[in-house]
Symmetry: D4
Subunit: 149 residues, 8 copies
């Protein structure tokens, strides 16, 4: 059966595409949140009606997105969580905690500058990668037993 990988976190760079392209020949299926930032922010009110209060505007959207993300994480064998250079990205850390309590294999992906702030998250992961290519190499090894080079 294909290895199911959920790609959580930062949505402003093409790291998901790099991983999916790199893993093109592997028996893997990928899932991810909606990465269209505007759609993700507004999905709740766009479908279910406008809210004058930004708090409930956000709540409606976050809950609709949760239908997708909870299923994605719960159905995954491996959850990759990417932390980028900017923003609070609390939803990424939330996903990591959710994945940890659900017993998922976690791979974190982040630059060295975040190492100290992410030490609790990394401690719950089975691998900490710096590049999407390393994630592809892990998936390749996990499935085929082959190492790079």
């Amino acid at each position: 059966m294909a290895l199911k990988v959920y790609l959580s976190g930062e949505i402003h760079t093409d790291w998901r595409e790099q991983i999916m392209n790199g893993a093109a020949g592997l028996d893997v299926t990928f899932d991810a949140p909606v990465t269209d930032h505007a759609a993700s922010d507004d999905c709740g009110v766009a479908i279910l009606g406008a809210e004058p209060d930004k708090f409930w505007h956000d709540r409606k959207g976050a809950q609709v997105n949760a239908i997708r993300t909870r299923r994605g994480i719960e159905g995954a064998d491996v959850v990759v969580v990417r932390f980028g250079e900017k923003y609070k990205q609390w939803n990424a850390a939330f996903d990591a905690g959710y994945a940890a309590a659900s017993g998922k294999a976690i791979i974190t992906l982040h630059p060295e500058e975040h190492d100290h702030a992410l030490k609790e998250v990394d401690a719950a992961a089975l691998a900490m990668a710096r590049t999407p290519a390393q994630v592809v190499q892990i998936l390749t090894y996990v499935l085929n037993g082959t190492l790079p080079g």
Copy 2:
């Protein structure tokens, strides 16, 4: 049986004391992470031996702390997660995700400026409070059915 409350997150202000003092007359027991920042950062190497690489220094400490925090969250009825003004606080969001997947009642506690960045976390919570006093009022109501004022 006493209501078990775990107080997760920001460790630089006295919000935990405010809640514990405010709840003094209630049938509640509180648990929390070690809030001595230096001890929390260095517990791993202080006990288990120095590490030249900061990454493993942090890993050792994060894992020793996890013995306490995982037990605290898993044994709790209610997990309060406080996000302060500063720092990334990814461990707080991680705890929230862990609590959510473990089916715990979550109360978030944070200023309005973080509302948008915390929308996924708030959407997994049963209450979003602005002040420690509100958390005390919730605990009072949950236990005794009485409202403030």
Copy 3:
């Protein structure tokens, strides 16, 4: 260890008091939702701030109440669910479903006129009682093995 009983449902008559008084000599602890109707309806906004929209007013309150009711049901050995003569009482049926999926022993308590409408709920229960006295008799038998009369 004391038998833990959660008393869910209708809040307009004294059926809870009848059961608690009747069970005075038994090794039972009782829990229940907040039965002060006004407090229950307004707890969310009274503590966490007013909402102009009744829908969110209700949401805030329902979620604060859920902190108590979920814990009550999850901690119970037996969940008694009372359906009265009036109102929709969907929260009572919701509690029954929640209790059923959580593997709790369920006792329903309702007049004959609701038998057909409650057939799915009754089918998930281990006993259907007509009177609080019968519930007391069941608890007495379950704990002590003695029958009435």
Copy 4:
């Protein structure tokens, strides 16, 4: 893998057909209770023998139906629960509670007049929709990330 959606609740209007038709192009599979009212009421006695007492007549039927409905809910990713204008519909609220305790994503579907009576059920849902078209739009967004209009 296809998104599995269970359509619970009211059986007197064509809301299920509207959703299934609207979702025709999506990777979704639908399940639902038996919606033939007479068959649903009488399935127990029709197969397993008549009962002179209506209570046991109903019990037999409710339990045979439970073989289908429990499996439907437990196998679903998303449970849509529709409350119509009439009847007690306690089985719909029971299904919602069962789905909530089973960790399913819940979408409620009901007119505004029921908002207050359904506040506990809505508080356990990730979306509250007014029309079948909105449910289709949610499923479309969850699967494809696209919004209406």
Copy 5:
């Protein structure tokens, strides 16, 4: 997805064949224990070596059979448990208890003479049938919503 049905219990009559033949047109898959009595009794020693003590002879066989039966029950949606006229059939009752604690839908199948002795088992079942044809009718109704006649 096909309904998965496990056929547990009595192995001396052709009730399994009657059910499988009757359900020929339905989307059902069937599983069952090994029904070759001699093979079932001797599988342990035939594969893993003779035992002079009948107790361990039986133990070896029972454990090898458990590889099949546990998987069959745990993978099933519906467990049919048949009690025949003769023998103790404690393994059938054991399977029923195992299925009950695993949350499976149970259909019992037995003659009226066993009603009193099986009252605890029947109380954990969603249907009690007298004939294999009734089991087929239940499966037909559960899958297609159609009743006999």
Copy 6:
């Protein structure tokens, strides 16, 4: 914490008293079904009203008894299941299966003549004893590490 032991099965001899007396000095708490045969058979109708049909008479009683027995098994560390010389005792085998699927430590207690018929049940147990005294010796060893003689 005291070792919790549930004593399931045969109710016609004093084996429970033998075990409880023998374990008088140990840190053990015992639970058991109601062993008054008449009360156990009639508890349903005595409390909840007569049934003309013996099948439903039995059902009502079996379900009321299940409130006690399910709690007893689920709360136990060790479940002792006694099979006597007479009767079908399917409820004992059902309890054993329920305990097995719930991950409980099982001790069976039965004469040699039942060994073959109980081989599946014994294969799920951690000990098969012939006498109540042996059960006491096991409990003594498990708690204190001391052996008889």
Copy 7:
């Protein structure tokens, strides 16, 4: 559905090939750890960067391997654990414990000389085999009900 078998333990002889070849005609799928010893030892540092300290070198590799092995065990119906003549093989015993707590059917495979040292592991298994051919015979019987010879 194919029986899923995970082959854990010793990686220095061809026992896996013997089982897979012997089971060629059966409806079985096999999974196993990476059995290339050098790759298995070095996968962590080969992908994620060198470590001067052998302890962390090993940690990185063990955690990457755990992505594969945890999934393999958790997805299996049957876990075969082979103990060879040499080495500590603590990872094999660890896998057996992990499989036991996960409720998997376990078959151990080891020479007689290890019987005493493996008594706790064997006590958690449903079969103890001496040869790969016996494992094939068990799988054949479990799937087809046929015995050798």
Copy 8:
């Protein structure tokens, strides 16, 4: 509530006493297997009757011991697993795997010479200690937040 610690593994040195004495002032309760080697080996036959075959002699004992060890691990917050210099100690590694799959916090305790052979076990642990004193220091920190020195 006291921290519950299970002390698994090597039974030939006084490491358990060192930890228990060192933790004398802490809110900890300790559990452990029976550490009387002869009693542990012979408990099965001493209570339940002799076995001519050493394999079944060992099986009886291992299963009686499992009543104690499974409960000890499942009831623990922290499982300390000690590997000594000698013997295979597969039961210690089995306990570690069992604890890991049960979500327990694991502390391993072993000399450096075993690091490579225990890399999979250490990778599932939250701390690897060299001395009983370090284990005491971890427990002290986890409970009180204080570090040594």
